[in-house]
């Protein structure tokens, strides 16, 4: 994609420098969020769908972690399972989610409500639908404020206007009483961000916050997130399929495929030395990296009946016989803060079969977003008005 903002490379650079700082910083600190062996199953008529099948990762205070994968890889469900937003039934969540020393899985629904929106903010994919169409945006932001503070109606209103101002809604006070449909997509996402920030959360889970937006707006929102992160000192768990976004904002990256973690590590390691064939395939899809831009051949496996062995093996050009058997390979450490789930790294294989001449790759994407694997970025017009009611 051309016509990218001149600001983007700077932002990317800023982000990466932060990441380096954090990385050195991590050693002494406990993770803010620690996810261990998270599993989410859905019982459907077709069978049990294992959307998330044993995912583990950590998020440290103040850092940005990106969950990356194709659509349907389970990354969104992972994000939602953390605060148990996944509807249950049909969803069933297992595993351990420790947030700031508290095991969220042990909490009652009531205690969890304090966390949701209080200490963990959420932003969802499609700002078009994330706001309730029948309430003013101000009301919705103020609702978020009042749900977590004792603020009076008036205080909540002031705080909401502040927040709207902070997220860059011009003339926030005047627009307080406007309805969502009077806002553009980007502005709506800003409002959603404002809502998520209402109670100064420690962690912001942002699920594809820019997918549904225009390219120019995407950059603005990303920058807003980066700025806010700095300002509020919060950690961000960014769920995305867009590697160019990852490159811009991530400190660390977790690559998931079919409900399993394929590779995780520092953003540099992932981009410089992608270890897993899947990660490499993803990166190959980025424009300007010389690979095919049409995506990865093949389809995601049937979620009700995933293949044995490595989940990726049916699409993997390097698949070995042992890839087809047993469970998903364990995560092998390939470098400091860089793990990969691939038999080539078990010590008995030669990983260069995958990596080839490692240095031949360009170090960084040189262009902005827009590339990446296909995702349903179906920006649907607001179709709630049908003309059956036109008498």
């Amino acid at each position: 994609m051309s016509g990218n903002d001149s600001a983007t490379p700077d932002a990317a650079r800023d982000a990466t420098s932060d990441a380096t700082l954090d990385a050195t910083d991590r050693e002494g600190r406990n993770p803010l969020l620690s996810v261990r062996d998270l599993r989410v199953r859905f019982r459907t008529e077709e069978g049990v769908v294992r959307a998330v099948d044993g995912v583990s990762f950590d998020v440290y205070p103040g850092e940005t972690v990106c969950l990356v994968g194709e659509s349907g890889s389970g990354k969104t469900v992972t994000g939602e399972a953390i605060t148990r937003l996944v509807k249950s039934p049909p969803g069933e969540i297992e595993g351990e989610v420790v947030f700031d020393g508290q095991n969220l899985s042990d909490l009652s629904e009531k205690q969890l409500r304090k966390i949701r929106g209080g200490r963990i903010g959420h932003i969802f994919q499609n700002p078009q639908n994330a706001l309730n169409p029948v309430y003013t945006v101000g009301w919705q932001v103020a609702e978020a404020v009042r749900l977590h503070t004792d603020a009076s109606r008036k205080e909540a209103r002031e705080r909401a206007i502040d927040l709207l101002d902070q997220v860059g809604i011009p003339e926030a006070a005047a627009r307080y009483g406007d309805y969502p449909h009077e806002f553009s997509g980007g502005q709506k996402q800003r409002v959603v961000v404002a809502q998520a920030l209402a109670a100064n959360p420690d962690l912001l889970i942002a699920d594809e916050p820019t997918t549904a937006l225009d390219v120019t707006i995407q950059a603005q929102i990303l920058r807003l997130l980066a700025d806010l992160r700095e300002e509020f000192g919060m950690a961000v768990l960014l769920v995305t399929h867009d590697l160019s976004v990852v490159a811009e904002v991530a400190d660390r990256v977790v690559v998931v495929y079919a409900g399993k973690v394929m590779e995780s590590g520092d953003v540099y390691n992932i981009f410089e030395d992608p270890a897993h064939p899947y990660t490499r395939a993803l990166l190959d899809c980025l424009p300007g990296r010389g690979g095919e831009t049409r995506g990865i051949p093949g389809r995601l496996p049937d979620p009700t009946n995933p293949p044995d062995g490595c989940r990726f093996h049916p699409r993997c050009p390097h698949a070995l016989p042992e890839c087809r058997e047993g469970a998903q390979p364990p995560l092998y450490e390939v470098a400091d803060d860089h793990e990969v789930s691939c038999v080539y790294y078990d010590g008995s294989h030669d990983p260069t079969a995958i990596t080839g001449e490692a240095s031949s790759r360009p170090s960084f994407p040189d262009g902005g977003g827009g590339g990446g694997v296909s995702d349903r970025a179906n920006v649907r017009p607001d179709d709630s008005r049908e003309d059956e009611d036109d008498e």
Binding site: E80, T83, L85, K87, P89, K110, R113, K114, I115, R116, G117, G118, G121, H122, F124, Q125, N126, N129, A130, L131, N132, P133, V134, Y135, E143, A144, L147, H148, Y179, H181, V192, Q195, A196, A198, D382, S384, R385, D389, D390, E391
Partner: protein, 322 residues
């Protein structure tokens, strides 16, 4: 928006006018049962059938030319002079005023109960999809839609009034409106009407709520930390109310207007349904037109209100382009 409302109003007016005209003409071509009977009686008694018919027409004011009667009627409709009911010997307006409290007495509780309970069950069903309660709710709905009201009414009357004696068989129009006796005699009609109405209410409520239960903004609200009840009442019910309001004025009123004929006949309630039914059967032209006017008016105003309700309930609707 004003332009839109004005146009809607004008159309409401025209529609009412057309419907009343059609009714008038239909009545005009309907053979007059009473006239035929009177003539036959006169003939049987050895009198003059012709004279009997003339006397009848004089009495009923049918001797004026068609056009005159039509234009008189149309003018009078809008001045609330709806004429004289010959079969009840009272002004039509009075007849309607006499009858409507009885309809309201069972209609209002039925509407309120079916709306509140119907929507409540519907929402519960939607948020607890595929649970036992959901299936039970669905069953209630289907039962209500499927049971023939008149049959149900008679059977209830037989069981609870005749066999068990818990409620009176006869509707006594003289008991005070707010009294135990009145409540007792209204229980069955309200119940029958409610079972019919609750079904459509809850089915629609469930369907509408289902559309929103999985909406992004509901997830957003949950992520904000809102509790279940808040989500249900503020974030699901409120947007669902927009289409539900349509059902309330449209389907529910339609259903109640139809059912009222049967319920009032079965339970002997002298309300609008029976007034209108008897008016048709007795071919009391003025009364037929008057009693037709009421549901037409309700439908027309209901449609209008429903459109206006959209403006209030759903801020997205913008009337600029209509």
């Amino acid at each position: 928006m004003y332009w839109y409302v004005a146009r809607r109003l004008a159309w409401a007016f025209v529609a009412t006018f057309i419907i009343l005209t059609i009714t008038f003409l239909l009545l005009e071509v309907t053979p007059d049962a009473q006239a035929a009977q009177l003539q036959f009686q006169a003939a049987q008694g050895g009198g003059s059938a012709e004279a009997a018919r003339e006397a009848y027409e004089t009495r009923r004011g049918l001797d004026a030319p068609l056009w005159e009667r039509y234009s008189n009627y149309m003018i009078n409709v809008f001045t609330l002079e709806w004429g004289w009911s010959d079969t009840r010997s009272q002004p039509v307006v009075e007849a309607i005023l006499d009858a409507y409290p009885y309809s309201l007495m069972y209609g209002i509780p039925a509407v309120l109960i079916s709306t509140v309970v119907g929507i409540a069950i519907g929402l519960y069903s939607a948020t607890h999809q595929y649970t036992l309660a959901d299936y039970a709710g669905t069953f209630v709905a289907f039962f209500g839609i499927s049971i023939p009201n008149f049959w149900f009414g008679i059977i209830l009357l037989l069981v609870f009034a005749v066999e068990l004696g818990w409620v009176p068989v006869l509707f006594d129009p003289n008991v005070p409106v707010f009294s135990v006796a009145n409540a007792k005699q209204l229980v069955l009609p309200v119940f029958v009407l409610t079972t019919a109405a609750i079904a459509s209410e809850m089915r629609y409520a469930r369907a509408e709520a289902l559309e929103y239960v999985n909406a992004e903004f509901v997830k957003t609200a949950k992520a904000k930390g809102a509790d279940g009840r808040r989500i249900l009442t503020r974030h699901i019910l409120r947007p669902a109310l927009v289409p539900l309001s349509t059902i309330l004025v449209g389907d529910l009123l339609g259903l109640i207007l139809t059912t009222s004929y049967l319920v009032e006949v079965v339970f002997g309630i002298p309300g609008l349904g029976r007034l209108s039914l008897d008016a048709i059967l007795n071919q009391d032209t003025a009364l037929v037109l008057g009693t037709t006017f009421i549901p037409v008016l309700i439908a027309v105003i209901g449609n209008l209100l429903q459109d206006l309700a959209y403006t209030i309930l759903d801020p997205r609707i913008d009337y600029g382009d209509r």
